[in-house]
Amino acid sequence: MSQALDSKGLDELFFRIFSGLLQNIIIKSDDAAEKILELSSEVVGKDIQSALEAFHNLYQDDSIDKAQNEYNQQVDDIIDAHQQGQVSDAIVDALDDSQSHSLADLQQQLERAINADEAIKAKAAPILHAIQFSELMHRHITNIEYAWQETIQRIDKDDSQTIANDIGQSLSTLAERQAFNTYVLKGNPKDISNEDDIDNLLNSIL
């Protein structure tokens, strides 16, 4: 039997539906990435295929996010200590990047394998791009979902500008921060330090 909804009930119902529809997109994105990875076995050699699969798995099991979070925490801790005069400038300049070694090692492995042959490079680059695209799609959809969750939960309680500012701080890619600045904050993009991941990663490999 149909229920009568007030605005609060409407918001909650809509968010559940909206969230479910976004998850559908993520599932389709994952499926497409898997299929493209299958495709790669038809066009590249065993070594490249293994490297691509390892790269894909790294995204799938959240290793990159974990490494980045741990590294960011480490940086924050050192900067805090530095501000309190507990560590020297030299230590801050030489931040230990051990947490990101696994990703760097894998990038080097891919770089060696792919750059070994121009023909392989032409084949592997689109596949690598598609795998990374899937991960970035995850992030965009997750950020959209989070932004709406925050909005709906807080809109009747908090100041709208404060909500918008908080959400803006949580966004992680250049494209979405630019869009958020344009459409929500209605200002100019500023201080965007975390550049588009696909381009950065591809440039570092190819």
Partner: protein, 169 residues
Amino acid sequence: MDSNELLTGMANFTEASLDWCNKEAFDATQAVFEMMSTFSSSETFIESIDTPQSEHAHDSRVKLAKALNDIAHANTNVQSILNPLLSTLQFQDAITQHAQGLTKMLQTWIEVRTELIETNGTISTLEFGEKLAAHTVSAEEVDCLKAEIPELPDSTPTEEDDDDDCFLF
């Protein structure tokens, strides 16, 4: 900024963000297809790839999928290559369609919400569900609505669902 400005801005941001996903899906699919075109001597396939495709052109994707199906049926040993290609094409098509539907649903929700607040009124879940269902393009989306609003009628095949047949071997 008042709450309506925030909601409208958020809806526009969401649309822009989904457009970005749509464009990236198009670019990624196109790159894979161009790379794969070097492996096919089929004129139909090459012509399909070379046909300018709009990021929003459902028809051109359907045409390309049909061309791929024809090739696969004529030459079964290339199915291992064409099957993943069809999946990526289907994904690109789905995200375009879903993004358009999601944006319209957001607008519908904001309109209904504003009206409820202004009138201090209510709306039945079924009526709201039907308003959202008007913006769905696939049975899958209707099923997603039905998961939350079971009283909605069962989905009926849409034109797009019929087109999906060409994405399947």
